[in-house]
Every structure is written in C-alpha cells, then in structure tokens.
C-alpha cells in the first residue's frame, strides 16, 4: 500500500502509523507523533508535545534515539496525496551527553551557498588526516538517502539493542522494500 491518502492528513497518519508499527517490533515502543501545517507535516518522538528521544539499551550502555522528519504532501494525478521528504534528522546520543555521537541528516534544499552533500553523516568523531585532527562535525560525510529502517538495523545489528520481536529483520526488510518501491525514496 503506497503512503498516500485522500487528504494530506490521511497520508501523514498512514506514514506515522507504519513507522510506529515498525518501531514497536524492532527497537522502541516510543511513539512518533505527526502533525500538519499544510502543505507540510512533521513527525518526531514526542511526549506531552515536547520532543524526546527513545531510550534504547546498547552494548555500550543506554542511548537516546531521535527520529525526526518533515515531509510535504504532493497531489498526484489521481487526486491522491503522497509525501515527499523535505528533511530528516536521525541521531544517537549516549546517556545524558550534550550532543549526539552520530547524526544522519538530509535536507532537500540546503541553505543558499551551501555546497556540501544533502545527505550526510556528522558527529564529534575525530579523524586523523595528515597530522591534522578533524572533527566529523566539520565535514559532511556523504551517505546517500538513509532510511529510518537502516538506522534501526544499525541499532540492533551493530549496537546490539535487544530487538522487540524475533521477526525484526523481516519487519525491516519488508518496510524498506515497501518504501523503496512505493514511497519513491
């Protein structure tokens, strides 16, 4: 089923419901909340309206997972509305640290004059390049479009977050394929 709806609101809610369905079977039961201000919608973890991170337990200790996305509703030729990603931010923050150790970001329209890759990875990771210490926060490491399924898979496969169901791998594969084909990412 494509992420479409007869109204932008319906399309947005379907998207949010689907991601929550995947989350609850993989890493977190924390709920994404969607709201719209037409023609755009925002999706993020919220509690009492405030943005929060989902708590996940990794092999390194507890971390906060933030998933946030802005989409725009586009009316298709058959009078349905589909969603197009305007920006996403996926971050992982250790414990009560002040900043994420990893940030996957995408922005459809970078600021005027910005020449860096629209899809990139950043974080306070130190790189040694010819005797220079360079922070990954000062670079925009290209990534290509990163699906939220990829971040959840990273949490389970690499950070060893205990999956919430035995079918987590299938859940992520099916979700990824569905979005690749039908969501047009």
């Amino acid at each position: 089923m494509p992420i479409q709806g007869r109204t932008p609101r319906e399309a947005a809610q379907r998207f949010c419901d689907h991601v929550n369905h995947v989350l609850a079977r993989t890493v977190a039961e924390t709920r994404l909340v969607v709201f719209e201000l037409p023609p755009r919608i925002q999706v993020a973890f919220r509690q009492a309206g405030q943005p929060i991170a989902a708590r996940v337990h990794t092999r390194f200790g507890p971390m906060g997972l933030y998933l946030g996305q802005v989409c725009e509703s586009i009316r298709t030729s058959d009078s349905l509305y589909t969603l197009r990603t305007i920006e996403y931010k996926y971050t992982l923050t250790p414990g009560d640290a002040n900043e994420p150790v990893l940030r996957w970001e995408y922005i459809r329209e970078p600021p005027v004059g910005a020449e860096w890759s629209r899809h990139h990875l950043q974080g306070p990771v130190q790189l040694q390049i010819h005797g220079h210490t360079v922070s990954l926060n000062d670079l925009h490491l290209p990534t290509g479009y990163v699906c939220f399924e990829d971040v959840l898979r990273f949490c389970i496969a690499d950070l060893e977050v205990p999956p919430l169901s035995e079918e987590w791998d299938q859940v992520l594969r099916e979700s990824y394929e569905r979005f690749r084909i039908e969501f047009g990412r």
């Binding site: 309206g49 920006e87 600021p111």
Partner: protein, 67 residues
Amino acid sequence: MTPLPLDLQSAIEQGELTLEQLRELIELEAKALGLTFDEAVHRAKERRLPHNVIGADLELLVQLLPA
C-alpha cells in the same frame, strides 16, 4: 523545557497546528535553548542550533513556517 500549554498539547495530539500554534511551539523550544523566536529561526536556517533533541526538532519545525 517548560510544559506546553494544554491546548497546544491537544492540537499536537490531534495532528493539526495553526500557524500561530506552530510559532508558539517554536518560541517555547527556542526559550528552552535560551533563544528568542527570531534567533532560533535564523540559526535554524543556518543550521547553527545545538544538535540536541530540542535543537534538532526546532530545525525541523522551522521548515513548516511559510517561506
């Protein structure tokens, strides 16, 4: 961050904000970062907000403002 007014919480849960409510939410999140509304919007567009959860969310919220 100070608790959101109940009507704003309700609007978020209902899934639809007015422009005024969006501005209110931005202002509250900006205040949590020690910024005014205008400062937050300016820094969001320049991607100079803190990278914590509120900063990340604020940058996304600014994308909903009319161009």
